[in-house]
C-alpha cells in the first residue's frame, strides 16, 4: 500500500471537513482532487509565462509556447504515444471522441457501414457514434456484456463479422471497474480492417498505459480524472491517421494559408487545435503527470486494486449489499446497491458522514438496463484513499441500512 498520510498532505482540499466530518472523497471516477504541485504550476504559469502560444514574436510568447509543447511531450511519454505530433490537446475525453467521430468518422463511414461500441461504454463513447451513424445511415452495433460485467467476446466476434469501420470500447469501465483486454480487442478489430478507438478516461489515471502495446488507433484521455485541471485532456492518435483526416473545428492556429473562399491547413497536431488552446490546462496536466510518475503508475494500480478488494470484501459482508462487476481484472471502482435503498438515498446518508460517492446511472444508461437496476451507488478510489476510507464507507452504509430498517449482520 502507498503511504496515504504523506500523499494526502499534498492535497489541500482533502484537509477540509464536510458536514462536520473529515472528508472521505470516493468519487474519483467522476473527478479527482489536485495536489499543490498542480495548483502551483497553474499559478506559476500565469505569474511568469502567460502569453498566446504559437503566435508571438517576443520572448514571453516563446516561453508560453515552450511550456505548452513541453506539456505535449509529457503526455506523449506518459502513454507512450506514437509521436508527440500524435497528441492533440482537447477539453477532455468527450471532445477527443467527438473529434474522432466528427473528423475521421464523417470522412470514412458511409451508408450501410457499421460502427461497434459496447454495452459498458460511457455516454461519451456512445452518443457521438449514435450521431455519426444517424447522419450517415450507418448501423451502430452494441456488443453485449457477460453476467459478471465483462465484454462478451463471442458477441464481440459476431459484431466484427460485419467488418465495421470503427470499433470503440473503454479500457476501464467507469461504472463497473472492469479492465478490458484492450490489446486483444484491438487485434481482433484490426484483423477485420476496423479502426480502434479506446476511451482511456478511466485507465490513464489508474494503470500503466502504453498505447503502442495496446496498438489502438485513437486513445482519448481526460486531465481532470488524473489530478489535472478540468477542461484539459488529449486525443492520442497515430500521426498518419491524423494527417489524412479533415479538420474538426475551423479557426485560428489550425490553418496554413487562408484565402477568401478556402484555406489550407496547418500540420498535425495543430490542424486539430483551432483557437487559443487551454495552455493553463496543458501545463497543469503536465504537472499532474509528473506527480503520478513520482508515485509510479504501477504502484498506484496495485494500491487501488487492494482498496477495491478490501471494499468488496467489507461491503459483501453487509447483508443485502450487491456489488456489480468482475472480481478480478478490475480497477478501483466499486458499484453496488443495498437492498431496496435507492442509491440517491445512500448518497445523501453517506454525505452526512462526510463521504462523497456517486449515485445514479454513471452516464451508462444502456449498462444500467442490462444490470436491471435504475442506478447504483459507486465508490471509486485513488492514490490518496486508504483502508480508513473503506472503513468509513462500510460503517456509514451500516447506518444507512439501519435508517431503512436493515439489521446489521
Amino acid at each position: 500500500m502507498l503511504d496515504v498520510a504523506r500523499l494526502r498532505a499534498d492535497f489541500p482540499l482533502l484537509a477540509q471537513r464536510e458536514n462536520g466530518h473529515p472528508l472521505v472523497y470516493l468519487d474519483n471516477a467522476a473527478t479527482t482532487q489536485k495536489p499543490q504541485a498542480v495548483l502551483d504550476a497553474i499559478v506559476e504559469y500565469y505569474r511568469t509565462t502567460n502569453a498566446n502560444v504559437h503566435r508571438g514574436a517576443y520572448d514571453l510568447a516563446i516561453r508560453a509556447t515552450e511550456a505548452y509543447e513541453a506539456a505535449r511531450l509529457k503526455v506523449a511519454a506518459f502513454v507512450n504515444a506514437w509521436a508527440p505530433e500524435g497528441v492533440v490537446f482537447t477539453r477532455g475525453t468527450t471532445e477527443a471522441i467527438n473529434l474522432v467521430a466528427g473528423a475521421y468518422g464523417r470522412a470514412h463511414v458511409r451508408a450501410g457501414d457499421s460502427v461497434v461500441v459496447t454495452a459498458m461504454d460511457h455516454h461519451s463513447n456512445l452518443v457521438p457514434w449514435q450521431m455519426l451513424c444517424q447522419e450517415k445511415g450507418a448501423t451502430l452495433r452494441m456488443v453485449e456484456i457477460t453476467g459478471d460485467g465483462r465484454i462478451d467476446l463471442s458477441d464481440y466476434g459476431r459484431a466484427l463479422e460485419r467488418r465495421p469501420k470503427i470499433v470503440a470500447f473503454p479500457y476501464v469501465s467507469n461504472a463497473l471497474g472492469t479492465v478490458n483486454p484492450a490489446a486483444q480487442l484491438a487485434r481482433l478489430a484490426h484483423a477485420v480492417g476496423a479502426v480502434v478507438v479506446v476511451d482511456g478516461a478511466q485507465s490513464t489515471p489508474h494503470l500503466k498505459v502504453d498505447v503502442q502495446t495496446i496498438d489502438c488507433d485513437f486513445y482519448a484521455l481526460s486531465g481532470h480524472k488524473m489530478l489535472g485541471p478540468m477542461g484539459s485532456g488529449a486525443l492520442v492518435a497515430k500521426p498518419a491517421l491524423l494527417e489524412a483526416m479533415p479538420p474538426y473545428h475551423g479557426g485560428g492556429e489550425m490553418i496554413s494559408r487562408v484565402w477568401d473562399d478556402h484555406s489550407t491547413y496547418n500540420k498535425v497536431p495543430h490542424k486539430f487545435e483551432a483557437g487559443t488552446p487551454n495552455v493553463e490546462g496543458a501545463v497543469g496536466l503536465a504537472a499532474a503527470i509528473a506527480y503520478l510518475e513520482g508515485v509510479g503508475p504501477e504502484r498506484i494500480a496495485a494500491h487501488e486494486q487492494a482498496l477495491a478488494a478490501a471494499a468488496i470484501d467489507r461491503l459483501t459482508q453487509i447483508e443485502g449489499v450487491t456489488v456489480y462487476g468482475p472480481r478480478d481484472h478490475r480497477a478501483g471502482v466499486v458499484s453496488f446497491t443495498y437492498g431496496d435503498i435507492h442509491p440517491h438515498d445512500i448518497a445523501t446518508i453517506l454525505d452526512q458522514a462526510g463521504i462523497c460517492i456517486r449515485a445514479g446511472h454513471h452516464c451508462a444508461q444502456p449498462l444500467m438496463r442490462r444490470l436491471n437496476v435504475p442506478a447504483t451507488a459507486r465508490a471509486s478510489f485513488y492514490l490518496y484513499n486508504g483502508l480508513d476510507d473503506v472503513d468509513a464507507l462500510a460503517g456509514a452504509l451500516v447506518k444507512a441500512g439501519a435508517l431503512f430498517g436493515y439489521v446489521p449482520a
Partner: protein, 147 residues
C-alpha cells in the same frame, strides 16, 4: 468505525411514514380511462414518473402513477395521488405551490394541514439537492393539467 447515533436531520428525512409510502406506494399503476397522462424524468438522477389523472369537469377523480426513483420522489408521488382525489384543478395547483413553498423552507407551508401527510417531507428542505426529488411528481401534475 463511526458508532455515533444517527443524524437527527437524516432521521427526520427518512421517517417511517416516508419509508412506508416508498415501500407500499398508494395508487400505483395505470388508469383505464385517463384524461391526462404525462411522463417526467430527472435526467440528472434518473428518477422517473408516469402520472395519469381522470378528470371530470375540473375535478380530479383519480390519480395513479408508475414511478422509479428514490424514497423521496416515490413517497412524494404516493402521497400526492392520495391528496389529489376529488380536488379541483385550481385546488391541485394551489397545493403544488404550497408543496414548493414547503420545499424551499417556508415554515408556514410546513404546518399547513392542507398538505396532509406530505408534511412529513418538510425535512427535505434541509437537503437542497433532494428538493427536486420531492417536487418531481408535482411538476408532472402541473405539466399534466396545463398541457
Amino acid at each position: 468505525m463511526d458508532t455515533s447515533p444517527p443524524d437527527p436531520q437524516l432521521s427526520a428525512l427518512y421517517q417511517e411514514l416516508i419509508l412506508d409510502h416508498y415501500r407500499r406506494p398508494r395508487n400505483q399503476g395505470t388508469l383505464d380511462h385517463a384524461t391526462h397522462s404525462v411522463s417526467l424524468n430527472n435526467p440528472l438522477c434518473g428518477d422517473e414518473i408516469d402520472l395519469q389523472l381522470r378528470v371530470d369537469g375540473d375535478v380530479i377523480k383519480e390519480a395513479r402513477f408508475i414511478g422509479r426513483g428514490c424514497s423521496i420522489s416515490q413517497a412524494a408521488a404516493s402521497m400526492m395521488t392520495q391528496l389529489l382525489k376529488d380536488r379541483s384543478i385550481p385546488q391541485a395547483l394551489a397545493l403544488a405551490d404550497r408543496m414548493s413553498a414547503m420545499m424551499h423552507g417556508d415554515e408556514a407551508a410546513a404546518r399547513d394541514k392542507a398538505l396532509g401527510e406530505l408534511r412529513a417531507l418538510a425535512g427535505v428542505s434541509k437537503f437542497p439537492v433532494r428538493v427536486k426529488c420531492a417536487l418531481l411528481p408535482w411538476n408532472a401534475l402541473t405539466d399534466a393539467v396545463k398541457a
